[in-house]
Each structure stands twice: as C-alpha cells, then as structure tokens.
C-alpha cells in the first residue's frame, strides 16, 4: 500500500528531465541562475525547485567517476518536519506514506527547514529575514494528486532510463536489494538507502558508493530536539496551568483566611 520511488543512481544519466517535469506539472517558475563552473543548476533547492540532480566528479584511485543523484523530500515515515510543524501544514499521509505540505496552513516558522535531517525544505525566495515573513516555499509533494489518480509522479514518469522508479514500497525494496546484490561485484560499497532510516523513507536509493559520497547523511536521525519538543511543550502547558491555578487558589485561600482573621480580630476587640 505504501508507495515509494526508488532512484538507482547507476542508471541516472543526469539529463535532468525530472527537474523540468516537476516544474511542468507544478507550474513552477524558473530560477535565475549563472554558470558556477559546474553542470549543476539551480544551485540549491528552493520554493521554485523541488528536486535537483547533484553532480559529483570523483577520482576513485585513477578511475574517473561522474556521479548524479537526485535530491528532494525523502518522505520519511518518522518525519522530523511533521513532528515539529506547529500548524499541521506538514502531515504524513497514512495511506501512501508521503509527507504532504499544505501551504495555506503554513505559518513560516521554519522549524521544518532546520529540523529536516536531509536539509530539504526552503523558505520562500523573497522572504524578509528581519520580520521573518514568507512561508516554507514548497517541497516535493510526491505528485500526490497524480498518484491518487493512478498516475506516476511526474519525475518518475519522465525519467528516460528508469533510474527513478515508482511503485509499491515493498516491491521497490525487493528490487533495490537485488540491484545492490548485482552491483556489489563491481561496487563493494553498494547499498540500499532508505529502507530503515527514519522509520523507512519513501524515497529509496540504490547507491554504488557510500551515501556521503552523494551528499546524503550516512545515518540520518530524528534530531533529539525534535523528540523532546512535544514533551517539553506539554510539560510547559501543564506547569503554566498549574502555576495559574495554584496562585489563584492561594489568593482565594489567603483572602478567606484574611476575612476570617478580620472577623476574629473584630470579635476579640468586642
């Protein structure tokens, strides 16, 4: 039932059809870029770029490698962004397992940006830093509308070589494991990424090298602060209520006592 995409980096030719297909389906505008001495562009994810291919040149003991990897929301099962989002703009869809984002619910707090273990969300381009305006710009939505209508996500559909595959998560894990087994012959570091990480990612990867070579965290973890925040908040609310209630009670009790004393004083005087 849970859907996923599997990116096999060994099949990616770096054509970046996925980047454009994503913009086409979501009507995202272009980003003004310059040539920074690399094929990679735009230079970063943004409100208008939800997925991008990173290019890495690697001299592996005399063998030249040019590595391409697709970066976008990983759709974690245990998603830090969902945990810290105060407004419920980020949610986990229980049916497919995607992390959905509703922009009209976002408050722009930016917690998702800082808590994401993969450093994926980005703030709106023209946000005022001093006033903290602007919302989370948007991120890969797994083409939720397409998927729920029985279509593939735009990027997976466009991918010429099948480097991005869409399907049942369980099937893709099986396929990924098999592919890793095949790759191990030539690439001893080959690995399937995302099977267990953060409760299981819905964006899976077959890597030929260690994940860090492709700029992915080796062991992505839920930030400890993200786990403690909800506890902290409920504790805070409790303490606040307790303090208020306590002080009010104290005031009432004190007043009652004082009135009692007053009466006693009056009696004594009498």
């Amino acid at each position: 039932m849970a859907k996923a995409m599997l990116m096999d980096v060994t099949r990616c030719i770096g054509c970046r059809a996925c980047q454009i297909a994503c913009k086409q389906w979501h009507d995202l505008p272009e980003v003004h870029t310059t040539n920074l001495g690399t094929y990679e562009n735009p230079p970063d994810l943004s409100a208008d770029t939800w997925t991008r291919i990173e290019f890495r040149e690697l001299d592996d003991h005399g063998t030249l490698k040019w590595l391409f990897s697709k970066h976008q929301c990983m759709h974690c099962t245990d998603a830090a962004c969902v945990k810290v989002c105060p407004t419920g703009a980020l949610k986990r869809d229980p049916y497919f397992g995607f992390v959905t984002y509703e922009r009209d619910k976002c408050s722009g707090c930016g917690y998702c940006i800082e808590f994401c273990p993969f450093h994926i969300p980005r703030k709106d381009e023209h946000a005022n830093k001093l006033l903290g305006t602007g919302l989370m710009g948007g991120k890969c939505d797994f083409c939720f509308d397409r998927v729920s209508n029985g279509l593939e996500p735009a990027c997976a559909k466009a991918c010429p070589t099948g480097a991005i595959k869409f399907g049942e998560r369980d099937d893709l894990i099986r396929e990924g494991r098999q592919r890793v087994m095949t790759l191990k012959k030539d690439y001893p570091d080959a690995n399937l990424y995302g099977e267990q990480e953060l409760g299981g990612l819905h964006m899976l990867y077959v890597f030929a090298e260690r994940p860090s070579v492709y700029d992915f965290p080796e062991n992505p973890e839920m930030p400890a602060a993200a786990i403690s925040l909800p506890i902290e908040k409920w504790t805070g609310v409790g303490l606040g209520l307790l303090a208020g209630a306590g002080m009010l009670t104290a005031s009432v009790v004190a007043r009652a006592r004082m009135i009692q004393e007053e009466k006693e004083n009056v009696k004594e005087q009498e």
Binding site: C85, P86, S107, K129, T133, E232, K233, G244, S251
Partner: protein, 247 residues
C-alpha cells in the same frame, strides 16, 4: 435576536467598567497628586519601563504561546504572529538599550539587587508558604526594599530575558549559518525560558494584581507610591532605612 440583545446588554454594562478602570489607570499614572501622602517606591521611568515591557511581553508571550501550545498553531497561518513577535522584540531591545543608557545606575542596581542573596533571605522562605497561601503575617520577618520572592522574579527576568534574546537572535539572524543542531536546541531553550518565565509571569501577575496581601502592589506600579502602613507591614526593614535617612 434575543441573543444579540443580551449581548448588547452585556457589553453595555462592561464597557463603562473597563473604561473606568483604564481611565483610572491612566489618570493615576499621569496625574497622580505628587503631594499625596505615601512613600515613593517606583520612579516614573521605572514604572514607564515596566508598563512598556509589560505590553511587549504580553504580545510576545501571546504570539509565542500560539506556536507553543500544541494545536494552537493554526492560528498563526501565514505567519502574522511572527511579524508581531519580531516587531515587539526589536522595540523591546531598543527600549532596554535606551533605558540602560539613560538610567544606568537603576539598571545596575536592579542587577546587583537580583544577584545579592543573604542568609536572611532564608527567613522569608520559611514563612513564605504560610504568608502567601494562608495570609499569615506574623511569622514573616521584616523585609528590605524587595523581598526574596521579588528578587527571584527579577532574577528570572534577567536570566530568561537573556536566554530569549540570545536564542532568538540566533534563530533570527544566524539561521543557516549555524549548524542545524544549534538552531534546534535554540528552539528548545527558547521554549524552556518561555516555560520558566511564563510560569513566573503568572505568579507575578496574580501576586501583583490579585493577591489580597499585595493590596497596594498594582497601584504602586501605577502611581509609584505605597502607604506608610503598607510599607511598614511589607517592607519593614526598608521603611526603617528610609526613615533613618530622612531623619
């Protein structure tokens, strides 16, 4: 229809009340008779600072609370609360700086006072529960200009204030420049300060405005003065000190 009528009736009765309270407040604050008998406890600048920061803290606290309380976040959609939060904090910072520059001595005294703790403060602690909860006056030893409870509050305003400003500044200006972990723990610490400061604010407000023992407290922060009796009973030691000085 009927509901509307009753609502109207309610507001018709409440508005003059609120109006008179606010009116009294402002009248007392600006036009209090300087010759009115009583002992000067809070200078005009101190009172002004108090009320300016009070308004800012209420706004900051309220906009913070919306993001803090689980489930309330939806109120903050589109981020209007943060704009208020940010504007308030920038004003806050300016006010503090201006006040510090203008009334350096007051500020330093405030800090020094907050950090000066003596053995005598224990006496207050022993008597505090009966005093505040039961209104039992007899066991409470005579106090200085501020009692240890107030000292704790001052200390908290300094410490929590510092935490708020530092973590807030990091989250505002150093976002992306610091490691995500730093930001994450800033959020956490900002919240901790909010919990401590917030709870103490509740205590402060209730004691200052509602508690029967502190009957002149709120008024003193408006007019600056307390009655001689109140001074004797609440700040005995301090009253003696200033009496000697005057003599």
């Amino acid at each position: 229809m009927s509901k509307n009528k009753s609502e109207k009736g309610f507001w018709a009765s409440i508005f003059p009340t609120i109006g008179s309270v606010i009116g009294t407040f402002f009248y007392d604050y600006f036009f209090d008779d300087p010759k009115r008998p009583g002992i000067m406890r809070f200078s005009f600048p101190a009172r002004t600072l108090h009320w300016v920061t009070a308004v800012l803290i209420i706004l900051l606290g309220f906009t913070g609370l919306i993001l803090f309380v689980p489930g309330w976040g939806t109120i903050a959609v589109a981020g209007w609360t943060r704009i208020i939060h940010r504007i308030c904090v920038y004003i806050f910072a300016v006010v503090l700086v201006l006040y510090f520059v203008t009334y350096r001595k007051n500020c330093l005294d405030y800090i020094k006072e907050s950090f000066t703790w003596t053995r005598e403060d224990l006496g207050w602690l022993r008597a505090a529960v009966d005093y505040y909860l039961g209104g039992e006056e007899s066991k409470m030893p005579p106090q200085g200009r501020i009692n240890p409870g107030q000292k704790i509050w001052q200390l908290i305003t300094i410490l929590c204030g510092a935490i708020f400003f530092i973590t807030g500044a990091i989250m505002t200006f150093a976002k992306g420049a610091v490691a995500p972990g730093v930001f994450q723990w800033c959020v956490f610490t900002h919240d901790i300060a909010f919990i401590i400061g917030g709870c103490m604010l509740v205590v402060h407000v209730v004691l200052g405005a509602l508690h029967p023992r502190m009957s002149e407290s709120l008024r003193s922060m408006i007019t600056g003065k307390i009655s001689v009796e109140y001074a004797k009973s609440h700040y005995g030691k301090w009253y003696e000190e200033i009496s000697k000085k005057q003599a």
